[in-house]
């Protein structure tokens, strides 16, 4: 792709937040699974035993909480809503499964927005239920507390499952996407296809970044 024009699709700040959030989230899913699934006991042993895994899980949970605040603050304006065109996009499954005309997104398509909203909302639920599990014994009524644990345990299915979709579409599933989160530089064709609104703004107005 030498000589091709490149477009800067993300800021260093965005990339740092993304990777810290992604890293802590995946680590939490991983350690959570170790705690939940007895068959992974040998893996837990390798990491220093269940008590160590539990403690990693707790401390990384705190780090996740902090980064989640920054991530939500940064992206909620661009990705924290669903509008009419997003519904259209969802009805067409983003054009990933069958041939369909999909509406043009500005910067983030409906799938990416849904992922952001899920991480923001369910991530918050994980933080709240996690803190209750850690410190909340006796603070709330036992049957309600048990529901908290159910929601926390479902986090693997919700966050873990959606993360896998995100990883696939961010790497091999959509050619040329990974650089958005490595050095931030994508090809012009990629930007025209996946962030047309942002692309036009950048080219037409000559802006490097979106000004909020």
């Amino acid at each position: 792709m030498a000589g091709q024009r490149v477009v800067v699709a993300s800021t260093p700040y965005e990339r740092v937040i993304h990777w810290v959030l992604a890293g802590t989230c995946l680590f939490l899913v991983f350690t959570g699974l170790l705690i939940a699934v007895n068959a992974f006991a040998p893996l837990a042993e390798m990491l220093g035993g269940y008590r160590a895994v539990k403690e990693y899980h707790e401390w990384f949970g705190l780090l996740f909480t902090i980064v989640l605040v920054f991530a939500v603050r940064h992206w909620y304006k661009e990705a924290g809503y669903i509008d009419k065109t997003d519904i259209e996009w969802m009805k067409a499954a983003g054009g990933y499964l069958w041939k369909a005309k999909i509406p043009e997104p500005y910067k983030y398509n409906a799938g990416q927005k849904l992922f952001f909203i899920t991480v923001a909302l369910y991530g918050t639920a994980m933080v709240v239920t996690g803190l209750l599990l850690w410190f909340g014994k006796g603070l709330i009524w036992a049957p309600l507390m048990r529901w908290m644990v159910v929601f926390h345990a479902l986090g693997v299915a919700v966050m873990g499952g959606f993360s896998m979709v995100h990883i696939y579409l961010g790497t091999i599933g959509t050619t040329g996407s990974l650089p958005v989160m490595t050095d931030g530089k994508v090809t012009e064709a990629w930007a025209k296809t996946h962030m047309p609104g942002y692309y036009r703004e950048k080219i037409v107005k000559g802006q490097r970044k979106i000004k909020k």
Binding site: M1, V29, G32, L33, I35, A36, V37, N38, A41, G49, Y50, R51, K54, G95, Y96, L97, L133, K137, A142, P143, M145, R146, W147, V149, V150, A153, L154, G155, V156, A157, V158, G160, G161, F162, M164, V165, Y168, I172, G173, T174, T175, G176, T187, A189, W190, K192, T193, H194
Partner: protein, 267 residues
């Protein structure tokens, strides 16, 4: 997790019609398990300490109750682990610290305990207690160290009135039922508590009142639905979700292929 096969189910029967609230069982438990007493404050009740603690595995609950005719009644109930056959704590324990013993006791191995407090949350009887100092959880052992060596539990040994007895499950159920019949004949609303709950507890009561009369005693206890959802639904769903998505993504890549940017013709 339940690796130990139950060989000979033993049951502790607590006949509340014979309890005088002497707390001999409570002291014997502390004594046998070398647990010091902690300083408490008198709140106008004989109940002391006020609740089960990480180092108080059994206690007599003192309850004052006004009967329908206006007279007062004093209820004593020895509380502690019920050693369920289908134990919620064993279901939720992630580290294998909780398991079933060969005599039907529910074991809690502090060396394996990671202090996650899941058992504390799951127990329908609200029995396990977490110790923030040692960061592990404790509860009654059914004196497994004694009963596997031909002795009876310390509390049973100490009981002076015959309220507590210990024997095989069949013996204790027969004894309990016989006592219930006797009491019912005297016009007392007696019942045998524990035989049918959570697939049978290994600590049973002869109650002299309806279940709901006793403070902090769950009526018709069972494994909470949330415990089943948490271990039997949420857990496999997590693995399934990740597995299904990874599988579907690979299939998508092979069958449909990745999405390429327009005007570029792939890379």
């Amino acid at each position: 997790m339940a690796t130990t096969k139950i060989k000979e189910e033993m049951v502790k029967l607590i006949d509340l019609s014979k309890c005088t609230g002497c707390r001999g069982c409570q002291v014997a438990c502390k004594n046998w398990n070398s647990q010091p007493a902690s300083q408490t404050t008198n709140t106008g009740s004989y109940q002391n300490p006020p609740d089960l603690q990480h180092n108080t595995w059994t206690l007599i609950r003192f309850q004052e109750r006004e009967k329908e005719d206006g007279s007062l009644e004093w209820i004593f109930r020895k509380d502690g682990c019920f050693h369920c056959t289908d134990a919620s704590c064993v279901r939720v324990c992630p580290s294998g610290a909780l398991s079933y013993g060969e005599k039907g006791a529910v074991r809690l191995n502090q060396e394996l305990c990671i202090g996650c407090k899941y058992c504390v949350i799951a127990c329908p009887f609200n029995v396990p207690r977490y110790d923030p100092v040692t960061e592990v959880t404790y509860k009654c052992t059914l004196c497994e160290d004694r009963i596997t060596n031909g002795m009876i539990p310390a509390c049973v040994k100490a009981c002076p009135t015959g309220c507590l007895s210990f024997g095989t499950k069949e013996q204790m159920i027969a004894k309990g039922e016989q006592r219930v019949t006797q009491l019912v004949e005297k016009g007392i609303a007696a019942s045998l508590y524990g035989r049918d709950y959570v697939k049978g507890t290994h600590v049973m009561y002869v109650l002299t009142e309806q279940e709901k009369v006793y403070a902090k005693l769950p009526v018709s206890p069972h494994v909470p639905i949330t415990v089943k959802l948490w271990r039997n639904v949420a857990k496999p769903l997590g693995l399934l979700s990740i597995g299904a998505v990874v599988g579907a993504a690979l299939l998508h890549y092979i069958i449909k292929g990745p999405k390429h940017p327009k005007e570029e013709g792939g890379d």
